[in-house]
Symmetry: C3
Subunit: 359 residues, 3 copies
């Protein structure tokens, strides 16, 4: 408080958020590029309420989502030709968080500012860095994602909110064997082929890859809708886990026509980008894009693939949120592991180690 | 945790449920028989999340509602020709809770199982026994209810969820004098006749009966709709309280035509079964059936009686939930008792004594 | 408990409400006169659940909203020709809280009563006095409000519920500079004229007045809709803060035609009454009326002014609730003050001093 008489501006408030328990020295997805247009976007990321917006020159900016005057979320404000203007009394902030106008007042006190965060847009993904006390400044560039910029694919995406901790989403994405039970209507296909597929898991201290080939499969509904397969197909699933996101490259060629391990393979491709950003310890943002390579009817098939992918992820959301609610009901009795859990468990080990260095 | 590396599968969870404070050595209603068909049913009973289903031979089964692999509620799964299959990775369980298939894996670890509960179906009511540490196994058969099986009545029923503790439902059912204020549209009738009716209360250490006769009453709307009464009627209400359920036999004959105390009396009958099963300390399941004996237009009159009974119980639900919310707002200031509370207070004494032996 | 056997009527209840932290020796608005008709109204005021109703002679009455028998809110009951009857078992109470009938029971125990509160209706506003331990009885008459009774104005109003503490509503009303940002569609007008207007603030130990004149303004949409202004207007805003309510007199005359400081000025008037009554520490009731003086089309213009005022207050509600939610998220970091906060800060000082004498 810098003005006598305002001491009483203290309300009954929620307890302060606990110390973060996330890996902090990472670029996390804050938004998909096309989500930031003519309005500011408020979003809590790693327990921090953030307002995201574009400055007049089109650059992305991220500030603490709280006006320094009377605490209105700046995301309730508006964008004008000079920056982000608070929706209550009109204070104007630039992309660095500096107040550059207080309507009706000549002097702007030096305390009139809000904290700014490091954000960068790359390949249509907006990344944010919070950093630990050791690395408050980013120590690397945000990841490239050429699928969005190479011109070989067409794509779209969205963000879903999960009432579940982020690692349950990792678990789900690291083990695609659930396709045969959860996603029968879209990309699932035959459950026993999924469950019995040969699986290769490799990892280092930051990444895990899971590769599965399923030759001779019946193509599932989404594949048939999007591509003129002749009959049976050879399917591949390649999952790359990174601390803040996953890349999943799946697809199929007509059976016995190509080597699945050749990255230049033809056929039908679905390349998924999955940004899993904790909102809080118990809730998450799930940013996804799906890119594909239709041979004809580009827009129609892209729309179909996106629609079916959205449907698929909604099925996952139902399962994962039910799973988390049940974990809350039951506490922490033991769980048994089965063969498909290897990849997910390695990803958990990586998070476990990085989380220890959080401030 | 039985696999190294899965230690981090611990989430922030709700505090463990408090020690149960219900009478435990009782058969409680878990379901009405016709509610268990081709899908598993998840329901929390006495603080325990349970999945109810029929095994391939049509028997009822009840398991802990949590897959031992990744904790998804088994009630999110499906029934197939061999048992209950989890909706995430397809583990298959039989009615004893034993895992009998892990898709894609030959060996089934001995720990792959979930706890099973004692359930029995009798007269179209599905009963469950949790038991105290003294009686983990049932020490009696579940109650018979011949009204459902004698062929003398036609009936239907439903289950309602209450945001109120189970004993407030007991209170309501033990004192039907509220009919004159709460249920004017259906079974109520004249308030002062209800309030002034002669009432007889008898009890032992497990049951309470309340009997009221109301000769010379104007028949209420539901009665008139269902039966060709000539004018005034002699009404009876017989309430039997048991620890986990109540039986309420009400009805009427044309005034001055029969002795009301004769169990073979004619006239119009409504026989209610009321299974009051705690969900938690503060919420309840209310299972009810209503049986009647129309002289003609059987299905039409049964439908009317069921519809009006449902309406009546919805009126009770509004009152009881408002009452409980008010108790939460006000804490526990004194209450005064009036003449109609005798039966309900005896029922509370029975519960109070049995609750002490809960584990 | 005054009857053996009812000891077990204790439920798990919410923690008792904390000691009130409001100024208590005040008349607060409990209702607008026309809100009390043929049904009892339940409303929590300063943490106390109250039922408001009219007795058979048309006087207003306020009782604790809890039947002394089984704790049903009396606001679930009905009004009859003798008083307020409980909706469960029919106990009847008069305006003093005395039980005057227990259906079916001759003797009425002396404990059969509920606490009554001091209420008075004046100028179509219903005021309630809770009082501190020093002043349990009112030490003054409730405020007059002649705008409602003088015949010079026509008016209407409503009550809004806020998920925000009452002092945030004071802040909002004490500083009308937000009109230029929040209320552009109705009474806002040019933001920089609002922000740069000359402002005079005066106060004593119970009231604060803020006066602003804005000569040469473009009349905002609501003004133009209601009055035949020729072109530019001279606007005034006069805000009177009292501990439990505010009076805001705004209006405009054609530019350069009259002295704005003359209380008999002509032109278009909007006279707002704003009763801000805490529901709890963190929620509020906002009672408002708006009175105006159309030159023609009286009912049509009143309807328009009321409609636009309602819209304006809904805009405030969005901002104030967002502000409070953000305060809860962020805790209590410092706030900076700007030039327009002088009046609001003085009002906070008055509340701060009176709150200390609360019991």
């Amino acid at each position: 408080m810098n003005v006598p008489g305002s001491e009483s501006l203290a309300y009954e408030v929620a307890a302060p958020a606990p110390v973060p328990t996330f890996p902090l020295d990472q670029w996390y997805v804050a938004a998909l590029g096309w989500q930031l247009t003519d309005k500011p976007v408020g979003r809590t990321l790693l327990n921090k309420p953030v307002v995201l917006f574009r400055t007049p020159d089109g650059q992305v900016a991220a500030l603490e989502d709280r006006c320094c005057h009377r605490a209105l979320p700046l995301s309730n404000g508006t964008l004008d030709e000079r920056g982000l203007r608070c929706g209550y009394h009109g204070l104007l902030f630039n992309g660095d968080g500096k107040c550059i106008e207080i309507p009706g007042q000549d002097k702007i006190p030096s305390k009139a500012k809000v904290p700014a965060y490091h954000v960068k847009e790359r390949d249509q993904i907006v990344w944010i860095w919070f950093g630990s006390s050791e690395h408050p400044e980013p120590n690397c560039e945000p990841p490239a994602y050429e699928v969005h910029s190479s011109g070989k694919y067409i794509f779209d995406g969205d963000v879903y909110h999960y009432d579940a901790p982020y690692q349950l989403i990792h678990d789900n994405l690291m083990d695609l064997s659930h396709l045969g039970y959860v996603h029968l209507r879209t990309i699932g296909g035959n459950a026993s082929i999924h469950m019995n597929a040969e699986m290769k898991v490799e990892s280092d201290d930051r990444t895990v890859t899971v590769t599965r080939y399923m030759p001779g499969s019946v193509p599932p509904p989404t594949y048939v809708a999007a591509y003129p397969f002749k009959d049976r197909v050879d399917r591949w699933q390649e999952i790359e886990f990174h601390v803040s996101h996953l890349r999943i490259w799946t697809g199929a060629v007509d059976a016995n026509t190509e080597s699945l391990s050749n990255p230049d393979r033809g056929g039908f491709h679905m390349r998924g980008f999955h940004g899993v950003t904790p909102e809080t310890e118990t809730t998450s943002h799930y940013f996804w894009t799906i890119a594909t390579n239709p041979q004809s009817d580009h827009e129609a098939i892209k729309a179909k693939v996106v629609e079916q992918t959205a449907l698929t992820f909604e099925e996952d959301k139902v399962i994962i949120e039910a799973q988390y609610q049940n974990m809350c009901r039951f506490g922490t009795p033991p769980m048994i592991d089965i063969h498909v859990d290897v990849g997910a468990n390695r990803a958990r080990k990586i998070i476990e180690q990085l989380r220890h260095c959080a401030r």
